[in-house]
């Protein structure tokens, strides 16, 4: 925590050297978050790259006041959502449509991203509607509060809690279904 405060302090003082430390500190968490949201390691790395490029460019223009990690998580979530929208638009599929990216849990990308052990989980997450997946990942993985997610998605906290509950229910049934196979 103190480390983060020091990073923010240096960042706000205009130190650009601190950007390397910020990147090294958060890169793995941010790539994991983006990969969980997008189910695509390449797209996740592009997302993190884009976020850092705009972070570097805007370094002189703004001042960080809150949590650095929280700020970067929000940037990655926004970028991943836009990327997902663009992808869906390109494929002609609605954002909330529950169609899975893949119907085959054995597909190698699910193993490649998070390993064999978590293949079922990443496959099940990929089958959730994007909004539900986003709430679950941001709340559980990125440890964001419902209130903060509600602000990020610009909806009420009740909606967020609903998405979380329905998402978890669906995830449970998908995981159980997979086990029973």
């Amino acid at each position: 925590m103190l480390d983060e405060k020091l990073l923010i302090w240096k960042f706000n003082r205009g130190s650009k050297d601190v950007l390397r430390r910020i990147y090294e500190k958060y890169k793995d968490d941010l790539v994991t978050l983006a990969a969980a949201l997008l189910n695509d390691k390449n797209a996740a790395e592009d997302t993190v790259h884009d976020v850092f490029v705009s972070f570097i460019k805007s370094a002189e223009k703004f001042r960080l006041t809150g949590s650095l990690r929280g700020y970067l998580v929000r940037c990655v979530a926004n970028n991943a959502r836009n990327r997902n929208k663009a992808r869906r638009r390109h494929q002609g599929i609605g954002l909330d449509e529950a169609k899975p990216i893949s119907s085959d849990s054995e597909r190698p990308e699910f193993i490649a991203i998070f390993g064999e052990e978590l293949r079922q989980l990443s496959w099940s997450l990929a089958k959730l509607p994007y909004h539900q997946r986003e709430v679950i990942i941001l709340h559980v993985q990125a440890q964001m509060k419902f209130k903060a997610i509600a602000k990020l998605q610009d909806v009420s906290i009740n909606t967020i809690q609903g998405r979380y509950r329905y998402g978890l229910d669906k995830l449970r049934s998908l995981l159980n279904g997979e086990v029973e196979k």
Partner: protein
């Protein structure tokens, strides 16, 4: 164990690493940005630290750099002059400190007999006569209320607050140069005070240095750096040496000046309302500042109001009532709510932002300056509703 037994734990296990390719791409962008900065640096003014510090509202920033002998040796006091307590520059600093609403100091120190750094914080409000010392490592908080002449000491291990009467001088936790000098004089410690001018990051600063020797031949130096523009200190260094010249303690303090600070001990991060409060004779006493029973009663009332408003809104196309009178039949003892609650839900709907305030307890606010606020998401937060 079924995989669904603990989905949270499973999700947390999702981990992947950034590839070398991504590292290369991002580092290359950073290098470009650094090169760009170097090119334009000469044409651009340096960061104005004074502005940066003064813009901070709530202090969160701490510097971690430990002071070494090397850093202290940078302070070559060539060209400096001896001053005394009557120095005009010192008087300006003392006056400037009196005018700020809050002073917050982050301290990091290292003792030679320990491998660990000690982190602590000090808060001071001259207006509210509050002085607070927080040991960040042990979580111990000493909250001094000068108005009531009481000290509250919170110990996280026992989750207890011990209240005792103030004895001795009013500067329980000295924070400024003049107070240190006063302490030295009171304890017969010999000291020299030097002053010189300097330029740091393009800002004109005044550097004060106190060198002291106590009766046990313990020697020390304390350096204060003060901005010339606002006469406020922004950092301080300390070094203490034993009679053999070995360093006993080194530390650094960073000063900041927020508009608001912890007005009660419960505003200090980590002090829970659940802490038991005892007098120094160990008899249980009243909670400092706020009555917990008042807060919990108000919380329960606002919870009931939140439910009633939700049910009303569900019956009325998601719209909150225009006045509290409209929810008659949805809530018992409505008259109490009409008399004690400030309702802010007029014209709002269930789709309102989660953080939107819907109502707050006026009575508690008048009594404590802070109150329970019901938000659109049903959460009740104890805060200052002045911004509404």
């Amino acid at each position: 164990m079924k995989p669904t037994d603990n989905i949270d734990k499973l999700i947390k296990k999702l981990q992947t690493k950034a590839s070398a390719e991504l590292d290369k791409r991002v580092h290359s962008e950073i290098s470009k940005a650094l090169a760009e900065t170097k090119k334009t640096q000469s044409a651009k003014p340096g960061p104005n630290i004074r502005k940066i510090i003064m813009r901070n509202k709530i202090i969160k920033v701490v510097a971690v750099v430990l002071i070494t002998i090397v850093i202290l040796s940078i302070f070559e006091f060539a060209g400096s002059r001896d001053i005394d307590l009557a120095s005009a520059a010192l008087a300006r600093t003392t006056e400037a400190l009196k005018k700020v609403p809050w002073v917050h100091i982050s301290c990091i120190a290292k003792r030679s007999d320990s491998d660990k750094e000690t982190k602590s914080e000090l808060w001071r409000s001259n207006e509210l006569q509050i002085s607070i010392a927080i040991n960040n490592d042990r979580g111990i908080v000493k909250f001094r209320d000068g108005g009531k002449n009481l000290i509250y000491e919170y110990n996280p291990k026992t989750n207890e607050i011990i209240v005792s009467k103030v004895t001795g001088k009013s500067h329980q936790f000295p924070i400024q140069l003049e107070e240190y000098l006063e302490l030295f004089e009171n304890h017969g410690v010999k000291y020299d005070l030097l002053e010189r001018e300097d330029i740091i990051d393009g800002n004109s600063v005044r550097v004060f240095k106190i060198s002291f020797v106590d009766e046990n031949s313990i020697r020390g130096e304390r350096v204060f750096r003060v901005y010339d523009g606002n006469n406020l200190p922004f950092e301080s260094y300390v070094k203490t040496l034993d009679s053999n010249g070995l360093v006993i303690l080194e530390g650094r303090m960073v000063f900041e000046y927020p508009q608001e600070g912890p007005a009660t001990i419960y505003d200090v991060c980590g002090v829970p309302l659940s802490a038991k409060v005892y007098g120094d004779d160990l008899a249980e006493v009243e909670k400092p500042g706020i009555e917990r029973s008042d807060i919990s009663e108000s919380t329960n009332k606002l919870k009931a109001l939140g439910k009633a408003l939700l049910i009303y809104a569900n019956d009325h196309k998601g719209k909150y009532p225009d006045t509290l009178q409209s929810i008659e039949g949805y809530l018992d003892n409505l008259q109490w709510f009409i008399e004690n609650i400030k309702y802010l839900g007029q014209g709002k709907t269930l789709a309102a932002r989660a953080s939107e305030p819907i109502a707050y307890d006026i009575t508690l606010f008048e009594k404590e300056g802070r109150t329970n606020v019901l938000h659109s998401d049903g959460q009740i937060v104890f805060e200052r509703p002045k911004e509404f």
